[in-house]
């Protein structure tokens, strides 16, 4: 259930693959460490005391968690505000008033480029929440939002 501010748009399907591939990368590192621990830690009570739980964890973060996390993300651009919502356990909904934006980044790493998504980063002058990140939008959407914000700030600065 989303908060009843504005109707939120889900992220691109490609972002689900990005989240999953990143999770697989993390899971592989964890599994490698667990296997190494199984081999090199002496006096284990039985085989699998380390590998077992890690396997379960890896299963969760690669199979079950990505879809849930992806579904929790949502955003809305109203012209004067950008809303970003995310979070599985703690639900977070951030509102960035466009007039408070200091500058804007649009970035794409290799994985994101592969699946045709981009990350929009808004910087404000705040202290804790000064960087608001919106991943998993198409590059055109990211650039459209960026241009709209830039135009809005530009016209406000001329007043």
């Amino acid at each position: 259930m989303t908060l009843s501010f504005v109707p939120l748009t889900p992220l691109e399907r490609g972002q689900l693959h990005v989240i999953r591939l990143r999770a697989i990368r993390t899971a592989l590192i964890l599994l490698a460490a667990a296997i190494a621990a199984e081999i090199f830690v002496p006096d284990l009570p039985m085989h699998g005391v380390i590998l077992g739980p890690v396997l379960l964890l890896a299963l969760w973060i690669t199979v079950f968690a990505p879809g849930r996390r992806w579904r929790r993300w949502g955003y809305a651009f109203t012209g004067s505000e950008l809303h970003v919502e995310y979070g599985l356990l703690t639900r977070v909904h951030t509102i960035v008033p466009v007039l408070r934006v200091q500058h804007i980044d649009v970035s794409q790493d290799v994985l994101e480029r592969l699946f045709g998504v981009a990350t929009l980063v808004l910087h404000t002058a705040g202290s804790d929440g000064n960087i608001v990140v919106l991943p998993g939008v198409s590059r055109t959407t990211a650039e459209e939002i960026r241009d709209a914000i830039r135009q809005r700030i530009g016209s406000a600065a001329h007043d």
Binding site: S4, I95, I104, G126, I131, R150
Partner: protein, 481 residues
């Protein structure tokens, strides 16, 4: 704004060589030597091979990084693009640029280069950095970017140069007031430190006595130790009070806050007189704080949070450290902030009591519960759990908020109380957070992010009913425009 130079430019090519030289110690010296010494003796061929390979790799990667970094000064924005694999485009609207600084480290001076930093008033990491361009280009950029925003210079030029500014004292501390504050400035930390020092001394003394007087004196020593303990406590308490007074005297002696058009000037200190200037327009929010004991006796601390600048790293500045309620109101009235009004504040949801009890009681219970396993004496600490639960019962009636004409006002705290005044124009972002427990209880926390905040305390509205939290966040966001 005739020549904006809209074509993308690269940094100075010498940057590649400068970075190569800067990175040399960590890349070109240590790894080849480490490789060379890997066996029992030094392998010069291996070391040289590694050196050549790493040098080539570093040069290529540095050059690639340089090639992919471009900046464009457009009509409306500065666009910085960089990244070989991860392409990043940063656009800085020109209206947002606060200042352009030029830095020249020792290497940059040798190469005749300069680092240009485009400051936007955000955090340090989010600014535009051009590392490095030629000195001439740096000066051209600075002139070009500053020309867009002539407001600051106009304001400065408006003031008549010869007229004496009207300056009035808003708040001042007499010697008596400083000493009184010193008494409350007594800190538990001092007590612990002094007590620890004396206790270890006491142990040495005891050891020596046992050695010199033998078994027969045991009982006498035990009694003496008890007496000594009591004495040490009293002495430590006294020393703590004295230390607090001395520290406060050194810092706050002659505290004077004056206001002249556009800014505050604060002077204080006994041995080092410090003078700071706080411009009215840099004030982000106001905070009135009452300590657990001094606050009950009617003493307030007024502080303002200012836009993080190089001269005030702490963010918040004390305007009046030890003021009566009336004096505190006068200080607030001298700032552009609206007054804090107690009437009409709304309480948060009753669920706040439950969550406060959890948040304050659980860590205490856990800490002493676990510590008790190792040192059974610490089980007694569990007696503090009911105390924090009782305090939690009062948390809700002390946590209230209201939306005024121009500001959000929040009060919070049972023992140590804080009143916040957050003008709408200071609000940067708004966040509605709901943890797992909060979702079950149907409440939410509204976080209000402002510039220059630091430390633990924030003007958040914790555990408001969900619909009220949503309405608050929405109303605040709408008022930013």
């Amino acid at each position: 704004m005739t020549d904006a130079g809209a074509a993308p430019r690269r940094l100075h090519i010498l940057t590649v060589i400068m970075r190569f030289v800067k990175r040399a110690p960590s890349t070109l010296v240590v790894p080849p030597l480490a490789l060379g010494f890997m066996g029992r003796e030094f392998h010069p061929v291996l070391a040289f091979g590694a050196f050549a390979a790493i040098a080539a790799a570093v040069i290529v990667s540095t050059w690639l990084g340089w090639w992919c970094f471009t900046y464009t000064i457009g009509e409306e924005e500065v666009l910085i693009q960089h990244g070989v694999l991860r392409r990043e485009r940063r656009s800085i609207p020109r209206g947002r640029i606060q200042d352009v600084s030029i830095e020249r480290g020792p290497f940059a001076r040798i190469f005749g280069l300069a680092l240009v930093r485009i400051e936007t008033g955000g955090g340090k990491a989010e600014e535009g950095e051009l590392d490095s361009v030629s000195l001439a280009e740096a000066e051209r950029l600075r002139a070009l970017l500053r020309s867009y925003h002539p407001v600051a210079t106009v304001v400065a030029g408006d003031e008549p140069a010869n007229a004496e500014p009207v300056r009035r004292t808003v708040y001042a501390m007499s010697l008596g007031r400083v000493l009184l504050r010193g008494v409350f400035g007594f800190s538990m930390l001092w007590l612990a430190a002094i007590y620890g020092a004396i206790h270890s001394l006491d142990r040495v003394v005891k050891f020596d006595w046992e050695k010199w007087f033998g078994e027969a004196e045991r009982v006498a020593i035990a009694q003496f130790s008890l007496l000594a303990l009591a004495l040490v406590l009293v002495v430590a308490l006294l020393l703590g009070v004295i230390a607090g007074i001395v520290r406060t005297l050194l810092r706050d002696y002659g505290f004077t806050l004056t206001h002249e058009p556009g800014r505050f000037r604060r002077v204080r200190g006994l041995l080092t007189r410090s003078e700071i200037v706080i411009a009215d327009r840099r004030i982000q929010l106001g905070l009135v704080h009452r300590g657990a004991i001094s606050g009950r006796l009617g003493w307030n601390t007024v502080a303002v949070q200012t836009l993080g600048g190089s001269d005030d790293p702490t963010g918040r500045q004390e305007l009046a450290p030890f003021a009566t309620a009336e004096e505190a109101a006068q200080v607030i009235a001298a700032t552009p902030l609206p007054p804090f009004e107690r009437i009409g504040l709304r309480p948060v949801a009753p669920a706040h009591i439950l969550r406060s009890a959890f948040r304050h009681g659980l860590p205490v219970a856990l800490a002493f519960g676990i510590a008790g396993w190792f040192l059974p004496l610490l089980w007694w600490g569990l007696l503090l759990v009911p105390v924090s639960v009782v305090i939690a019962l009062f948390q809700r009636s002390h946590h209230r908020y209201a939306l005024r004409d121009t500001s959000l006002q929040v009060m919070r705290g049972v023992l140590s109380q804080r009143d916040w005044i957050v003008p709408f124009e200071s609000i940067q972002t708004l966040t509605v957070r709901r943890s797992w427990l909060q979702r079950r209880l149907g409440v939410a926390t509204v976080r209000v992010d402002t510039a220059g905040a630091s430390g633990m305390h924030r003007p958040d509205v914790t555990d408001a009913p969900l619909d009220a939290a949503l309405a608050l966040a929405q109303a605040l966001a709408a008022r930013v425009d």
